[in-house]
């Protein structure tokens, strides 16, 4: 028996105005190659980094939202490696004193621990064109938050849920687009398997396997799940042969849905970290973390919708997945004055339904949506006489339905309800229609 041990590294680009260490715009998308650069992000001789205060605050905001401790002391370090997209020959990152550490995210009563949240700079981009490789430094120096979890996951589904929750949280904070297609959120799972024998699991729980496989640069939750599932099977096969999988970095082939070897342990880097001498260490007061204000997060919002507005759990979840939907919902609620009635016992839930079922386009302005919603949610005045005539007419023209109903197929009535509602052009209360229909059917 084997149990997967999975940890995650997630990178998110911050959408701050300027880059991490210079005045260039952090919004590089779609700009002419190397037009969004300066001496600092090009690594020109003599250029120096000056940290972006907003980016530091935002990294701490993410940390706080993930229940991390905001460290009183933090610093930047240089991480060295040579690559053409890394202009200085080192990346300014954080090594042993990250901005935030020891947090957690709770999903369905399961806690997944966060090891650390730190800040670094993004690299340039290589563009392969024929035999040439070109470098575009527009992205060089864009602030990048790295979130590292503890190896707390043992299945791909939990990982997917966690990543979706994290994505939602980051979007709620408004600090990153976390757009995976544009590469502003990137995910790297670390996967290994721990052998367990009956009852032996507990004793070995804290021992990590002797190897670790890192899958790099995956850009969708579904692919993360597929990559993990593939790795679990691949490693299981190796372990069952009584061999140990190689410690390595692997890539993910989206088309074949398999992982492939990229770099082995022997080729692993010695990054030669040391404190960045160009940036003084950061110290924060004891009171400082209180100044970082975390907005209401999706989980809290969901609970509030359920408690305050009696929204069904599944609907509350759907409404809070995206901050824009949640905001829209709350604004409509504040503008819609629908009294609860026998027909509409919970107008809030009805408004939720309108949004979720896309009964009214949510692309229209809130005021317009609210007006339409109020119209739809007016208690329907039913013309009892017209209804009586219509019902009897329909029962007559649909004898099979009446027969089915009598045989006990009570659901058959729903067909007639639909017919009535269509004929009455919605100007009837469905509940009343059903009651009346059943009364008439029973009479026969």
């Amino acid at each position: 028996m084997f149990k997967p041990v999975i940890g995650l590294e997630i990178h998110a680009e911050l959408k701050s105005k300027s880059k991490m260490f210079c005045q260039c715009s952090a919004d590089y998308f779609g700009k002419k190659q190397n037009s969004n650069t300066c001496p600092v992000c090009l690594g020109l001789p003599g250029a120096l980094p000056v940290p972006n205060k907003k980016a530091v605050e935002w990294a701490q905001l993410i940390g706080k939202a993930l229940n991390c401790r905001l460290n009183r002391n933090s610093k930047f370090d240089r991480k060295h490696y040579f690559y053409p997209d890394l202009p200085k020959g080192y990346q300014i990152s954080q090594y042993d004193e990250p901005l935030c550490s020891q947090g957690y995210v709770e999903i369905n009563q399961k806690k997944f621990r966060i090891h650390r949240v730190h800040l670094e700079e993004d690299t340039g981009k290589l563009i392969h064109s024929g035999v040439d490789t070109l470098v575009d430094f527009n992205r060089s120096g864009v602030p990048l938050v790295e979130i590292v979890t503890e190896p707390d996951f043992d299945n791909a589904e939990d990982v997917k849920r966690f990543l979706e929750e994290l994505h939602t949280i980051i979007r709620y904070l408004g600090v990153s687009d976390a757009d995976m297609e544009k590469g502003s959120m990137r995910m790297e799972p670390n996967i290994s398997l721990r052998a367990i024998e009956n009852g032996e699991e507990k004793r070995q729980q804290f021992e990590l396997p002797a190897y670790k496989v890192e899958v790099k640069n995956i850009n969708s939750f579904r692919f993360v799940k597929q990559a993990i599932e593939y790795e679990i099977e691949r490693q299981k096969e190796i372990l069952e042969r009584k061999e140990t999988p190689a410690q390595e970095t692997r890539g993910f082939d989206e088309k074949k849905q398999i992982t492939y070897s990229q770099r082995s342990k022997e080729e692993a880097h010695d990054y030669r970290y040391f404190p960045e001498p160009d940036i003084p260490p950061m110290t924060f007061s004891r009171e400082y973390p209180d100044s970082i204000k975390v907005p209401e997060l999706p989980a809290q919002k969901m609970k509030r919708y359920m408690a305050e507005w009696k929204i069904k759990e599944q609907d509350a979840l759907v409404l809070t997945r995206d901050i824009n939907t949640a905001d829209f919902f709350e604004m409509v609620i504040s503008k819609c004055k629908v009294p609860s009635s026998k027909q509409i016992p919970n107008p809030n839930q009805s408004i939720a339904n309108l949004i979720i079922n896309k009964k009214i386009a949510t692309t229209m302005p809130v005021e317009e949506f609210a007006a339409k919603a109020m119209e739809l949610l007016q208690p329907k005045k039913t013309d009892e006489k017209a209804l009586y005539i219509l019902i009897n007419q329909l029962i007559k023209t649909n004898p099979k339905v009446a027969e089915d109903y009598k045989k006990g197929k009570t659901n058959a009535v729903m067909f007639l309800v639909g017919q009535v509602m269509r004929e009455m052009k919605g100007q009837a209360d469905a509940k009343i229609v059903r009651e009346q229909l059943e009364n008439e059917l029973k009479k026969r």
């Binding site: 003599g46 030669r272 160009d278």
Partner: protein, 454 residues
């Protein structure tokens, strides 16, 4: 008009009084450069378009549109698209760069001999080194190929060439002057500073270049003082002397320093014996930290975006890259870099303790006077040993000034340094000014200039 030997501020006054034009001054210095630079090799690049009061600038300061090589073939073709903060402030204050001066390549050295463009010669004896790494700047001031120059010091690179070439050289507190646009050597040590013929010029230039810079996160927000205003005060100080700083120092140098200390006493200052961490320990601490930073700082020169390929690096740069990468490597970091970093704190505390007892520490700047060219490369780490009297202030980041205090039997200048507390440049300059008024540096600077007649 006879301009020979006029200080920068004197020239500035002449221009203000319309007694001479800036054009005439530039023509004067360009003529002298043409005449004497071939034998001294102080300048690598001469700016014929210099239009305002001229200054020489070490070739590790990025100057927009003016070739900047740090004396390395790697940057043989590098023309910066931006201006360093120091040169920008000078330009904004009415100066222009008349030329870029020779240096040890990447500032790696204490003799200007590791330059890929040949050594600079000491104006006092062209068979000798002017010191380094700001040797070109020191020689240019000493031979009056510029009224003043800007250099940079990591450990000794302003003070030691100033001592060997017989000029005033001020190394400010780390963070007093912006490093933006200065090709980094040891980032946690590098300090730009002036080399001049008078203390007044040094004070003036420091006032121009000092102060917070939004492009250098390590630049201090402590306000720069009005250095020239404070020169004239006749303050009395307590001066600390540490015997360890005279250990193994040449007899003649010791004599000159002792004579100068007597003069300081005569001026009413108190002399107090103090003990400091022996400078020999500074060598290891400084070397390890500096090499680590060098190995990192030179990583950007990959020849992809600008400059030549890495095989153009000279021997000294390669040595430093390898040693630095080694001390930062996995498994060695704790034993070298981290330990040196801890020991650095000891030096910092030692200096702070000293300056709680005395206003200054006075010591020789260099253990010997100028060496013959070629001597340096015979001994590995010879530069570090030569610079050991400069390393405490470099490691601690405190300010110091070199002043000429006479000539030895070979007619070579001897230098004395005054080290001061953090951000107390105005006090150092004040004492230096009192000394200058009393001694006129024993005529050393004037004699140096007179060796190079118009």
């Amino acid at each position: 008009m006879d301009l020979l030997g006029k200080s920068l501020l004197e020239l500035k006054q002449l221009v203000a009084d319309k007694k001479i034009s800036e054009k005439e001054i530039n023509e004067y210095f360009l003529k002298r450069i043409k005449k004497y630079n071939p034998q001294l090799n102080a300048y690598l690049t001469v700016n014929e378009n210099s239009a305002h009061l001229p200054l020489a600038v070490k070739d590790n300061f990025c100057t927009k549109g003016l070739k900047t090589t740090a004396s390395s073939k790697v940057l043989d073709n590098f023309i910066p698209p931006y201006e360093s903060t120091v040169t920008e402030r000078l330009i904004n204050n009415g100066f222009s760069v008349i030329g870029k001066t020779n240096m040890d390549a990447w500032a790696h050295g204490s003799s200007t001999e590791t330059s890929d463009y040949g050594p600079t010669k000491n104006p006092w004896d062209t068979n000798r080194s002017p010191g380094g790494s700001s040797g070109g700047s020191a020689a240019a001031v000493s031979a009056y190929l510029t009224p003043a120059a800007i250099g940079s010091e990591t450990a000794g690179s302003i003070r030691q060439p100033a001592a060997w070439s017989g000029v005033v050289g001020l190394k400010p507190t780390f963070g007093r002057v912006s490093r933006y646009g200065v090709i980094a050597m040891g980032s946690s040590f590098d300090c730009p500073g002036p080399l001049t013929t008078t203390v007044t010029d040094a004070a003036y230039l420091l006032g121009v270049i000092a102060g917070k810079d939004q492009f250098d996160a390590t630049s201090s927000s402590i306000k720069a003082a009005d250095y020239n205003q404070l020169l004239k005060n006749k303050n009395k100080y307590t001066i600390g002397i540490s015997d360890d700083y005279f250990d193994g120092v040449d007899e003649q140098t010791i004599n000159k320093i002792e004579k100068s200390i007597e003069i300081l006493k005569k001026l009413g200052h108190k002399i107090k014996k103090i003990t400091l961490i022996h400078p020999k320990y500074d060598i290891s601490i400084y070397t390890i930290l500096q090499r680590a930073e060098v190995s990192s700082n030179l990583s950007r020169y990959d020849g992809i975006r600008y400059g030549n390929e890495r095989n153009e690096f000279g021997v000294e740069a390669k040595r430093r890259i390898m040693l630095g990468a080694y001390t930062l490597s996995y498994g060695y970091y704790d034993a070298y870099y981290k330990k040196a970093q801890k020991a650095r704190t000891l030096i910092v505390n030692d200096m702070k303790k000293a300056f709680s007892e005395v206003d200054f520490i006075v010591a020789p700047t260099a253990p010997i006077t100028a060496l013959n060219l070629g001597e340096f490369e015979k001994y590995p780490f010879f530069g570090e040993v030569m610079d050991q009297l400069n390393e405490a202030a470099a490691v601690a980041g405190t300010p110091a000034i070199n002043l000429p205090v006479g000539l030895d039997n070979n007619n070579l200048p001897v230098g004395m340094q005054i080290m001061g507390n953090y951000f107390e440049e105005e006090k150092i300059l004040n004492l230096a000014y009192q000394f200058e008024k009393e001694t006129d540096f024993f005529g050393v600077i004037k004699r140096g200039i007179d060796n190079y007649k118009d």
